[in-house]
Symmetry: C2
Subunit: 178 residues, 2 copies
Amino acid sequence: MTGTARQKYVEVDGTSMTGRFPVSFELEGYSSGKRRNDVKVGMIEPERLRVWDLASDEGKFHGGDETAPKPLALFTAGIVTCFMTQLRTFARQCGVSVSGLNTHAKFEWYAQRDGQEPYVAHPNRFVLDIEFETEASLEAQKRLVRVAAKACFAEQILSIDLVHRLKHGGEWVICEVE
Amino acid sequence: MTGTARQKYVEVDGTSMTGRFPVSFELEGYSSGKRRNDVKVGMIEPERLRVWDLASDEGKFHGGDETAPKPLALFTAGIVTCFMTQLRTFARQCGVSVSGLNTHAKFEWYAQRDGQEPYVAHPNRFVLDIEFETEASLEAQKRLVRVAAKACFAEQILSIDLVHRLKHGGEWVICEVE
């Protein structure tokens, strides 16, 4: 999390401000089944890319038909793939030649119900494990993880401490990203 | 955002603690193309549901082949659909009979580059517009939005102020969710 959260928004047009470019997405959603939602989503800045059709649904015990992934499957896959993309984007600059990249993640919440009131969602523990196929040093890999964490648009708007662990020499090494 | 962010995690087993149940997801990802990532993702608590195959890719100007949605398309669709699901889950309890639900969202970030250093991502402005097909009062709809915001597992781990607007009588009404 950066100190910029909750600051007032700024106008960014991608050309006039040195070193700054906008990244924005637009979505249109509608409820299309018992618990199913359909969404059209596309990037609009810095470049308009094609619009994708995505959908969510719930399992039967939440009143859905399981015709599509759950919303949190999309959400968590977005975090993991955004981070993986940044790892590859900045690998060369950090001196890490990557011939393969595998991740494993576990994201845990709990819901708290007070009597008959609607439940309130709480974040709990979020761990992202990273395995590079690389000959690069542990220090170079750690630097790459730090750089990717700061460049990751998803991670940068999370209020939780995402724990990053690197596989090195058969051990899991926790990376500090602040 | 709740005050629980960054607290130490708690052990939640779904049965022993009154009113509390765990919600967790597990993911396995690998880099499968120039910028493409493939992910298997499934809910493991409170119930193991089927595992879904999701993928991300980038547009050509980011070195990808655009074979799948961008990571932030998955991520933002996850936020919007999680929120929509909560709206429907708690609609009846809030006295809002919903015959239709449409949303529109715009999520804006910017990236800041300092010389040749890797860019750093910053959140900017996040707006979620909600239109119910309902005869319910504005007050009831506002209550439902507040309840859904607190129950939304995605929104509850965002560090940004997500602006919620309700369409009512042809106007957009901003809802306070704190």
